[in-house]
């Protein structure tokens, strides 16, 4: 029998089925589109990451180490816009979701492959526009575009940045639409809703938010553009508009958007914890329904970003109560993942380290959300570094670690190669340490009152800022290491075989890398998800 490496070259799979730039740029194969997305978002992550590095270096000095305030403002705006819209929101759905959703349900592709490709092109157009906006001249409104600053007073590239974000929103909508139809209509025989891997439940819930929320921010950005161009008085009070209306419309999407960013990671964690404990998930239906509950309730809490905006006390009370409600399903998931480890057979490869790190950091960061949902403490903490610490714990300590865990887990399936697990575990540990050093001090300096988006700050906050910046340097090293060994593995990594982890799931029952059609024959599903402990067939 041919060697494993020879097998990789001789066998036809989705990577070598066709060569040439056209076969990539005009592909409708969901796996190739996933890789196109992976390349794009890695680029945007680097862009946003460079902004972050510059920000943290600048903040070593209370008077600002490098930049004029105007330039600093452009940096944090760029960091936010790029990271939120061009890294976090697409990351897991467009990369892992695109690759895995059809495979996990036993289908040959998504419901609408051409729309899938279109969505990548739309994403790139939006990305190019926004890159232009933030690099040539910059934007300094923050990613939140509050009016009337953005409509009337900012003299930076607000229009092109808003347009870029507007365009990228359609990419998000189309991806969500594709996933919902695929999951509803294309599950393999025997794959009932409650036999689906939880990653699919998470992608489904995420898609609902993408579909229903994104159009609202799209139309809001249109109105901002109109206001900026024609001063008609929709958001600028000087001409009769209501700036708080902007906040309501903006946050109506942008709060659910943060669940677009976290739900997919939660789905990944469910896959990792079950595989590396060799156990079915504890409380499957509770985890599944929690995903949907989070998606639904997420649309009801946007006002918690506006407790000190001048909105009424009664509105604040309602939004506060609902914000506590939305925390409960997340707590349920954390307990179920932890319980899954009980009496398991646990191994510590890199994906599992990321998953366990996620659970701990998400718990801490999620609980700091309670401080912000509580009206009395939020008054003090609003727009301070406490908020910055809170959302970075969830998005970086949570979502990004989930993304990295997922990439490490499915890398053998995507590329057919294994990466060196020792380096991977080292990188995970460095990331964990660097992350906590960077962001924990931010809780502290936030409670002390340091406002966010400050280019210059009072000297008494310097010690904590320096600690944070030191942590950031470690975190940067941690992120750089996987780049190196992942690229190395594509050429020199040992061949993975169809199922190097011994995982359950339809995607593992096909070769690595998979053939273009995913499966030789449509699989028939006869067992529950995560049927570990079942007799080997």
């Amino acid at each position: 029998m041919a060697t494993a490496a020879g097998d990789l070259e001789n066998r036809v799979h989705y990577l070598n089925a066709d060569y040439g730039i056209k076969s990539w740029l005009l592909t409708t194969d969901h796996k190739r589109i996933a890789i196109l997305y992976m390349a794009s978002i890695t680029f945007f992550f680097l862009m946003g990451g460079i902004a972050a590095v510059l920000i943290r270096i600048h903040l070593i000095e209370p008077n600002g180490a490098i930049f004029e305030p105007g330039t600093y403002n452009k940096l944090f705006s760029m960091h936010g816009i790029i990271m939120v819209f061009f890294f976090m929101i697409p990351s897991i759905p467009a990369v892992l979701g695109n690759f895995l959703v059809p495979m996990m349900i036993g289908a040959r592709d998504l419901a609408f492959p051409k729309i899938n490709l279109l969505s990548w092109y739309i994403f790139m157009v939006g990305g190019i526009l926004t890159t232009y906006a933030v690099i040539w001249g910059g934007v300094d409104t923050g990613w939140t575009f509050y009016t009337p600053l953005s409509t009337t007073y900012a003299n930076t590239n607000v229009l092109s940045a808003a347009l870029g974000v507007f365009v990228s929103g359609f990419s998000s909508i189309l991806t969500g639409l594709n996933f919902v139809v695929t999951i509803h209509k294309m599950r393999a025989p025997g794959m009932t809703w409650f036999r689906m891997p939880l990653f699919l439940w998470a992608m489904y819930a995420t898609s609902i938010i993408q579909i229903l929320g994104t159009p609202v921010v799209a139309v809001t950005l249109v109105m901002v553009a109109l206001e900026r161009l024609f001063h008609v008085g929709v958001f600028d009070p000087a001409v009769g508009g209501d700036p708080i209306l902007f906040q309501h419309l903006f946050w109506f999407y942008s709060h659910p958007a943060v669940y677009i960013m976290i739900l997919p990671s939660m789905g990944v964690v469910s896959e990792l914890v079950t595989c590396f404990a060799k156990k079915r998930i504890f409380g499957y239906s509770f985890v599944a329904f929690s995903s949907v509950a989070i998606a639904v309730v997420s649309f009801l809490v946007w006002g918690h970003h506006m407790f000190v905006s001048g909105q009424s006390v009664y509105a604040g009370i309602v939004f506060s109560a609902l914000s506590f409600v939305v925390a409960i399903p997340s707590a349920i998931k954390v307990f179920n993942w932890t319980a899954t480890l009980y009496k398991g057979s646990i191994s510590y490869q890199a994906p599992m380290l990321y998953a366990l790190g996620f659970i701990g950091l998400f718990t801490m960061g999620g609980l700091t959300g309670l401080f912000l949902a509580t009206l009395a403490t939020d008054t003090h903490l609003h727009d301070t570094y406490f908020v910055v610490g809170h959302f970075h714990y969830i998005m970086v300590g949570g979502a990004v670690m989930g993304y990295l865990g997922g990439i490490h887990f499915w890398w053998p399936k995507i590329t057919g190669r294994l990466y060196p697990d020792g380096w991977a575990r080292l990188a995970a540990a460095i990331i964990f340490i660097g992350f906590n050093l960077t962001f924990f001090p931010q809780y502290m300096v936030g409670y002390l009152g340091m406002p966010r988006r400050y280019a210059i700050y009072p000297p008494e906050f310097q010690v904590l800022n320096v600690m944070s910046s030191a942590g950031a340097s470690i975190l940067a090293v941690g992120y750089a290491i996987p780049l190196v060994y992942m690229i190395w593995s594509m050429r020199y990594g040992p061949v993975a075989g169809p199922n190097p982890w011994g995982a359950k799931g339809l995607e593992w029952e096909t070769p690595s890398p998979p053939p273009t059609e995913n499966f030789e024959q449509t699989p028939v599903v006869t067992e529950e998800a995560y049927a570990y402990g079942a007799r080997e067939v």
Binding site: V216, A218, V232, G233, V234, E517
Partner: protein, 218 residues
């Protein structure tokens, strides 16, 4: 056995035609849901300002031509009828009826857009009611009237854009219908396009009273 006229040939990702058709329908329903949210943002903004600036918005509404608006409403409702009849014709395999009804629907849709452009918007432009271009009205409540017209042009403009796209889609279907591609077991594309068309009609049915009929003159 499947119709030999492979208009919508089975795409490789689907198991059978039925799955493909169901997927297309569900996809259209979800797309319409996103459209509801998109227009919804505009409706929400409009409603809030209509309450804040009642006199100005009423005055602005009075400056619109209700007769033409009503005419357009009739045109659209008729086009929904012809669209429904087209779907039924496709369902029954009546090629000539299908082609006729599609042509009628397209004609009515184009009529809507043309009436809007030549009779309404041109008039608004001549009178100086277009914010950003030449808004020159300077009576009482001028600022809120300008805001009204901003919403008016934005909402009817986005709606008209959707009409034009719809007409384009129907044009493509017309060509396929002419070639006899639709029949009792493969009319899903016509039905899906019909869904979209009816939705665009329904949006107008909300727009018309909200924009033209407020101000209590009826």
């Amino acid at each position: 056995m499947a119709d030999s006229h492979a208009a919508s040939a089975l795409a490789h990702q689907f198991e059978d035609l039925e799955q493909q058709q169901e997927a297309a329908s569900l996809g259209m329903w979800i797309f319409l849901a996103t459209e509801v949210m998109f227009f919804g943002g505009l409706f929400a903004g409009y409603t809030i300002y209509r309450n804040l600036y009642e006199p100005g918005f009423a005055a602005g509404s009075h400056m619109l031509n209700v007769t033409i608006g009503a005419l357009n409403t009739t045109v659209l409702i008729c086009s929904s009828l012809t669209m429904a009849l087209a779907v039924r014709a496709a369902q029954m395999g009546k090629r000539n009826a299908l082609v006729s009804f599609l042509i009628l629907t397209i004609a009515l849709g184009l009529a809507f857009v043309l009436i809007k452009l030549t009779l309404e918007w041109r008039h608004d432009y001549v009178e100086g009611f277009v914010p950003g271009l030449n808004f020159t009205f300077a009576g009482p409540n001028a600022k809120s009237i300008e805001l009204f017209f901003c919403f008016y042009f934005l909402m009817t403009g986005v709606h008209a854009l959707h009409m034009v796209v719809g007409v384009g889609v129907l044009g493509v279907l017309l060509v396929q219908a002419w070639k006899g591609r639709f029949g009792p077991d493969r009319y899903n594309a016509v039905e899906t396009a019909g869904l979209y068309w009816h939705f665009v009609d329904i949006v107008w049915i909300f727009l018309f009273p909200l924009l033209y009929l407020i101000g209590g003159r009826y």
